[in-house]
């Protein structure tokens, strides 16, 4: 398994285009948007918080995670299926599920690195707060990333070929990002829209991340929705995944 992880990590670094994009775009957006003066002042709509405290960096963490989970991961897995990499492996004593696990680990590592960069840069450059409940923040991050990776696996399971896989990912990504508060903070959304968002896979991740960032406890509903996403999407992915 170690050799597989190492090999997949090397392949990942040899084709760094998409992971770098997934890390650098949110970082650049964070620094650029953080220059907007209004974002650096206490905002009554956000309960007196500044936009640069949790709203902006929180959304950038989400953006980095979902770019990896919903576009990079499915594209790689579907191309492995399409070119027969998974099929070749299934003729060996080692089941190709190990390759899937190695890919998930890679994506998780990139998401962690991106998050550390975003939190650090936000704090050092913009003066954003550091996560006030770091353990809960880390827990929410892992759970939320797992839920996004499950969704990515489901996309990989149902996508007919490597060309449409990232397309399906983007198609899902933008409405979910909207509901998560990417363009309008969730606090400013009409109640109904916000309530709908509570039950979709991405908004609970964003809310719980921001809650723990600010030192509040995450809402139990959000944790339940994230766990349910892992179970349901992961289960469907396992049910529909094809190795060839």
């Amino acid at each position: 398994m170690n050799k597989m992880l190492l090999t997949e990590a090397k392949l990942f670094l040899r084709d760094p285009g998409s992971p770098i994009f997934a890390m650098l775009l949110p970082l650049a957006l964070l620094i650029a948007l953080g220059q907007i003066p209004g974002f650096r002042e206490a905002t009554p709509d956000l309960g007196g918080e500044r936009v640069i405290d949790t709203q902006l960096p929180g959304m950038m963490v989400i953006l980095a995670v979902v770019t990896m989970a919903l576009t990079v991961l499915p594209a790689t897995l579907v191309s492995y299926r399409e070119s027969g990499v998974l099929r070749r492996m299934s003729t060996t004593p080692v089941h190709p599920i190990r390759l899937l696990v190695a890919q998930l680990v890679n994506n998780l590592v990139v998401a962690i690195v991106a998050t550390v960069l975003l939190v650090g840069a936000g704090h050092l450059v913009l003066g954003s707060i550091l996560p006030r409940s770091p353990l809960a923040f880390a827990g929410v991050f892992v759970l939320g990333t797992a839920s996004m990776l499950s969704l990515g696996l489901l996309i990989a399971a149902v996508a007919p070929n490597a060309k449409v896989a990232p397309g399906i990912g983007s198609l899902l990504m933008f409405p979910l990002l909207f509901m998560a508060g990417m363009w309008i903070p969730r606090e400013l959304m009409p109640d109904l829209v916000r309530r709908i968002g509570d039950f979709l896979p991405m908004a609970p991740f964003a809310d719980a991340l921001r809650d723990t960032w600010a030192g509040h406890a995450p809402q139990p509903l959000h944790l339940v929705v994230m766990v349910a996403t892992v179970l349901v999407m992961g289960g469907l992915a396992a049910r529909f995944f094809r190795w060839e």
Partner: protein
């Protein structure tokens, strides 16, 4: 010892019957060929043998009934159209696949053996078709299998690369590896296989050695020559080996069986005729397949 036993294999896909009724056995140490036109059910058959597909009915017994992981330890498989990641280097692929097996081969030696030592650091995507195929064969052998399944291994290769690959297969057989070879190339089957199953529309139409299969079409041969002087056809037609004599232009074509060439040349010598441009044409596997099924194998 029987290494592979397949009996009454049947496999249907949603819209078509791929394998209708296939039975054969492969003995230890032989190269057994599965020969037939595209779409005959060859690949489906060997995929069932490899445990990659579950047959609808019939039985497959490999190495005394090994299954799953145990089977995969002992059975190397080279499949049609399974690539590797473009940027994976030759040595990394071998090293990684060697780590999948309990008793891996020395992959450095294997790499030299398949002639890829100087391509050690070349990514898969930059290898030529023949090199990719040789890497594929090496990966099928990296677990030191007792049986190897090689599916259409020279399809898409140029003639030189094809002959190199054949030599490689012959050397692998010398190591005692039993080989199940799927092909639609007559020349490949004649050159490599000890025995062959001819498959058409999901059924075995004949099974024998290549020469045995050719003999099934009556061991028909044709001797062609130009004669130096006048020749009476009846002298040839009188020979027991000869079944027919025909002329086109100055060329005489004598068809027949048995030791036809000797019979014809002896008769010509007795008649004081010297043959020029003398050629013997043997029936081929293609002729055998044609006479058995009414179809040609190769396109």
């Amino acid at each position: 010892m029987k290494v592979i036993e397949v009996s009454n294999l049947r496999k249907r896909y949603r819209d078509q019957l791929a394998v209708d009724d296939v039975s054969f056995t492969v003995e230890e140490g032989e190269i057994f060929g599965v020969l037939g036109p595209n779409g005959a059910g060859k690949t489906t058959t060997v995929e069932c043998v490899a445990g990659l597909r579950v047959p609808d009915s019939g039985t497959v017994n490999v190495l005394g009934g090994l299954h799953r992981t145990e089977l995969r330890e002992q059975l190397g498989v080279q499949l049609q159209s399974s690539a590797l990641p473009e940027k994976l280097k030759v040595w990394e692929a071998l090293d990684l696949y060697a780590s999948f097996y309990r008793r891996p081969a020395d992959w450095v030696k294997l790499m030299e053996r398949v002639g890829l030592a100087d391509k050690r650091d070349t990514p898969y995507g930059k290898l030529s078709g023949g090199q990719q195929q040789r890497l594929s064969i090496a990966l099928a052998l990296v677990g030191t299998p007792r049986v190897a399944i090689l599916d259409e291994l020279t399809t898409g290769l140029d003639p030189q690369a094809r002959r190199d690959t054949w030599e490689l297969i012959e050397r692998i057989r010398e190591d005692g590896v039993t080989i199940l070879l799927v092909t639609h190339f007559m020349e490949e089957a004649e050159r490599l296989c000890d025995r062959l199953a001819l498959i058409d529309s999901g059924r075995v139409v004949a099974m024998d050695t290549p020469s045995g299969l050719i003999a099934m079409v009556g061991g028909r041969q044709t001797v062609r020559f130009r004669s130096s002087g006048p020749l009476d056809d009846t002298r040839l037609e009188a020979l027991p080996e000869v079944t027919g004599v025909s002329r086109s232009g100055g060329q005489v074509a004598v068809t027949g069986t048995g030791n036809l060439l000797l019979a014809v040349t002896t008769a010509l010598a007795a008649a004081n005729v010297v043959p020029t441009d003398l050629r013997v044409e043997q029936a081929t596997l293609d002729d055998a397949f044609l006479s058995l099924t009414g179809k040609k194998i190769s396109s």
